[in-house]
Structure formats: structure tokens, C-alpha cells
């Protein structure tokens, strides 16, 4: 099922639900490269042309709706659950850093990157939002991989100077504090930067909510009460967790009834 919502910058976004069976892939991807995992996660975003900030907010909402609002954060005293709303609140709104430049007859708009950094420095070109020559305009993030490579491979090197200056002058806008840390709980501050690997690492962690053993165990237990495993795997984690709690309550009630009967 597709979900749609509005981002803080009023942009409408459509996503596909992340189902329980998709989390199995995440568990299997555990040893895979970050680039593969983020590509898999991005495949749930139907709306094209988002920058990484918009994608981050989209992932927050997707996580809330399909997995839950609480995120386990590691501390020296063990995992602590933190509400995703707090992360969103800390990030707040993003300043408009869009800048239009004219380089050798090419109108070039620079903005937040549209691609995540996963080790390939080519991602820096994704700071170019659009290019325009003689009223013909292309949006780089909407191009296929082949077209994107062809366009970037033909751009004059003089644009590099502008990109470098843009990155330097907007450096504070590319980093964000998601969590301020809590000394009493010994939880460190969570600081992310769009221009390094920290953002992807954080997003991957958001969706890394179940291991492969727990994945099978939950299905095994629930299939005793709901035998249609296909139905179960097509539910979201959030739904399954509700069924799991209901089943747990039911079993506890039955045990209590049995104990009461034996006592009487």
C-alpha cells in the first residue's frame, strides 16, 4: 500500500509501506554494503527528486508508520528508547540554501545533495539540483544513472570551483544535531553530516530493528494463532507487534483462567 504525507517544507511525498517481509531483506543485508542497504531503503520512496534532507524526513515518517516511534539508542548503561519525534524536533526546519550560478552559459542551481554519500565521491555532483541551457532545463536527480553520468561527464570543470565555495559557505547547514545526548543516561550526542557517511549509517540503523533469528521466532509464535503466514509477512512490523502483544495477553489470560479453575 502507498502512503502519502507532507514534509515540513510542504512537499507531498508518496512512499511504499515497509512490510515485515522487507525487514527480512534488511536482516539479510546486514553484512552487505551500506550502498546496497540505502539503495534498498530508497526504493520505498515513490516520489522522485527529493534531496537528502527530504529523504531523511521521509524515512522518519516511514519508520514511525511501519515500525514504530521508538528507536533504541545505545548508551553505556544499555539501550535506551527515544521517540523519533524528538529527533525531528531537534533537526527542526532547514534553511533554504538554494543558489543559482551562471557558468559558461549554463544556469546551474546548487542545493542540498540529492544522493547519499556511501564512499563514492561522485556524490558531490548531486549538489547540482538542476542545469539549464537556452531555456532547456534538466533536474539531475530525475535522470537515469546512464544519463546522469553522461551529463556530469560533460560539465565544464569551472563548476567545481563554485561547488567548492558553496560547500564551504554552507558548511553549518550540512550538519545537524539529531540528539543532544544525556549525561545522566550516558548517551552521547548524535551529530550527522550530509557530506560524510554518518547520515547513511544513522538511517540504516533506524531500520535495523530485528535480527534474522528474532524475525523467524516472531513468525513462528504468531503462526500458532494466525496460521496464514503470508498474511503475517505482508503486515508491517508495527501491526505484527500488536498481534504479538494481543496473543501474549490472550495466553496470559488463558493461563490465569486455568490457574483459577485449578484453585477452585
Amino acid at each position: 500500500m502507498d502512503l502519502s504525507f507532507t514534509l515540513p517544507n510542504k512537499k507531498e511525498v508518496v512512499v511504499k509501506e515497509i512490510l515485515y517481509k522487507d525487514l527480512r531483506k534488511m536482516a539479510l543485508y546486514n553484512d552487505s554494503s551500506r550502498s546496497n542497504i540505502i539503495k534498498f531503503l530508497e526504493s520505498f520512496i515513490v516520489t522522485k527528486g527529493l534531496n537528502v534532507v527530504e529523504k531523511l524526513f521521509t524515512f522518519f515518517i516511514l519508520r514511525e508508520k511501519c515500525i514504530g516511534e521508538q528507536v533504541a539508542v545505545g548508551s553505556k548503561k544499555g539501550n535506551v528508547n527515544i521517540d523519533l519525534q524528538l529527533f525531528r524536533k531537534n533537526i527542526g526546519s532547514f534553511d533554504d540554501i538554494r543558489q543559482e550560478i551562471d557558468v559558461e552559459g549554463i544556469k546551474c542551481v546548487l542545493n542540498y545533495p540529492s544522493r547519499f554519500y556511501v564512499g563514492d565521491t561522485d556524490f558531490i555532483f548531486s549538489l547540482i539540483e538542476s542545469l539549464e541551457i537556452d531555456n532547456e532545463k534538466i533536474i539531475l536527480s530525475s535522470l537515469s544513472e546512464e544519463d546522469y553520468t553522461n551529463v556530469v561527464g560533460r560539465l565544464p570543470d569551472t563548476i567545481f570551483n563554485y561547488i567548492e565555495k558553496f560547500v564551504k559557505s554552507n558548511a553549518p547547514h550540512f550538519s545537524m544535531i539529531v540528539y543532544n545526548g544525556k549525561e545522566s543516561m550516558e548517551i552521547d550526542e548524535i551529530k550527522l553530516n550530509m557530506l560524510d557517511g554518518s547520515l547513511v549509517a544513522f538511517i540504516v540503523k533506524l531500520f535495523d530493528c530485528i535480527g534474522d533469528t528474532d524475525y523467524r521466532e516472531m513468525l513462528f509464535v504468531l503462526s500458532k494463532r494466525i496460521p496464514d503466514v503470508l498474511f503475517l509477512t505482508n503486515c508491517t512490523y508495527l501491526e505484527l507487534f500488536d498481534y504479538y502483544k494481543l496473543y501474549q495477553d490472550e495466553v496470559e489470560k488463558q493461563n490465569q483462567d486455568l490457574q483459577n479453575q485449578s484453585a477452585s
Binding site: 558531490i124 532547456e136 535522470l143 544519463d147 561527464g153 560539465l155 565544464p156 567545481f160 567548492e164
Partner: protein, 242 residues
């Protein structure tokens, strides 16, 4: 490719329809070459981030760009500097620190190329023929060398040792012992390394002398007003230049 993008690419090609003239020592004439593009400049700068591997990557990227932009596949390694300097001058301007690149370009035209393309070394029954490798040949060896070099810092010494062997290796054409002649192009790279590692030390020194003629030529053309221009990734970084 979509129709829209195809039309946009045509427009970009028209805007980029610029060539620069580079004097090529091996050809003794000027050849037209395309200027650096955005991706090429980024590739050169990003190689600076990775230590010893980065140095290899930088050289490999440079060779690839020169071959790609000039359309010439048989350029010798001493042809590299004229392209590097001309491309840098066109992209980022004439000055690097206090050095004016035009001075280097003048040196390229004025300093004679006193480098032999071939040489022979004989020692007892051992005979080696040496050559000046092409950029393409150098890249094949750089690829292999990069695969073998570990990025771990503690292995830096070992990595430099490998670099030295590959530097020697790329200048050897044939090795002959008695009547057995081996053309190094006919055998796999790891076998070439094994052969070269078995050469006597005195032969290494003679090969180094041959290599030194190229190094001297490079030093001479890069020296302007007694200051030698350094060619590394920073050379292509706008923020590093004046």
C-alpha cells in the same frame, strides 16, 4: 537515453567545443586536447585523500584523462607533464603559488629532450633492453600495483618497496639470459615482478640511471626561477592555488 537529455547533451557538447594546444615532446609538435571536465577534476582531487594508494590513483587518473582528452594512445611517460600543466593552466589559471605555469610551458618548448627511448644493459650472460613506457602501459602496472598495496599504515614501508619494483619493471622491455629471451609484455604482471626481484643489485643501479634521465628532464622543465613545481592532487585544487 531520453530525447530531452540527448538534446541537452548536444547543447553541452556545443558549449564545450573548446580545445587547447599542447606541445608533445615525443611528437615534437602541438596537438589539440580537450580541457578537463568537472568529473575529471573531482577525480584528481579526491585521490589526495588516500595515502599511498591515492598517489597511484592520482597518476592513473591523470594518464587516463590525458589519453581520453588527447585521443592519443601511444604517448610516452615524459609527455605527461606538458598535458598536466596545460590542462591545469586552462582550468584554474596561470599561477600556482609563486610559480607561473607559462614558465613551465616555455621550458617544455625550450629544453631539449635528452632521453633515449631505448637502452641496453649487459652483465655477464644477462642482457636487458630498457624502454620508455607509454601512459597506457604505465596504467596497466599502476592498476596491478594498487591492488597489491595495502592501505594499512604499518605496511607503508612494504608498499613503497612494491612501488620501487613496479617503477623498475615498467622500464624493462626484455630480459635475456644466455639464449633465452623473455619479452615482459608476453608474461603476466606477477611473473614479471618475480623476475625483476631476482635481478642482481648492480643491474638495478643501471636501470635507475636510465630512469634518472627522465626524472632529470621532468625536474628541469618543472623548475622556474629555481623553484620546482610540485605535481600532486593539490595542484588541481582551486582552494590550494593563489
Amino acid at each position: 537515453m531520453s530525447k530531452n537529455v540527448s538534446s541537452f547533451l548536444n547543447k553541452l557538447d556545443k558549449l564545450n567545443d573548446v580545445t587547447i594546444e599542447v606541445f608533445v615532446p615525443s611528437l615534437k609538435k602541438k596537438v589539440p586536447t580537450k580541457p578537463l571536465n568537472l568529473k575529471q577534476q573531482k577525480d584528481l582531487i579526491s585521490s589526495a585523500l588516500d595515502g599511498l594508494k591515492g598517489t597511484l590513483d592520482f597518476n592513473r587518473t591523470l594518464n587516463k584523462i590525458i589519453i581520453e582528452n588527447s585521443g592519443l594512445s601511444d604517448l610516452k611517460i615524459y609527455d605527461k607533464l606538458p598535458f598536466i600543466v596545460a590542462l591545469r593552466k586552462h582550468a584554474l589559471g596561470n599561477k600556482v603559488g609563486k610559480i607561473e605555469l607559462q614558465g613551465v610551458l616555455n621550458n617544455i618548448k625550450n629544453i631539449p629532450l635528452n632521453v633515449k627511448n631505448e637502452s641496453t644493459i649487459k652483465q655477464d650472460t644477462l642482457k636487458l633492453t630498457l624502454k620508455i613506457p607509454t601512459l597506457r602501459e604505465e596504467n596497466m602496472l599502476l592498476n596491478k600495483c594498487e591492488q597489491e598495496i595495502n592501505t594499512e599504515q604499518e605496511l607503508l614501508k612494504e608498499g613503497i618497496g612494491k612501488l620501487y619494483i613496479y617503477e623498475i619493471l615498467k622500464h624493462i622491455n626484455t630480459i635475456q639470459v644466455d639464449d633465452d629471451v623473455i619479452d615482459l609484455d608476453d608474461i603476466r604482471i606477477h611473473e614479471r615482478v618475480k623476475l625483476v626481484e631476482k635481478l642482481p643489485l648492480s643491474v638495478y643501479s643501471k636501470i635507475s640511471d636510465f630512469i634518472e634521465t627522465i626524472n632529470k628532464y621532468n625536474t628541469d622543465i618543472l623548475t622556474v626561477d629555481e623553484t620546482e613545481l610540485a605535481i600532486d592532487a593539490e595542484f588541481f585544487d582551486t582552494s590550494g592555488s593563489d
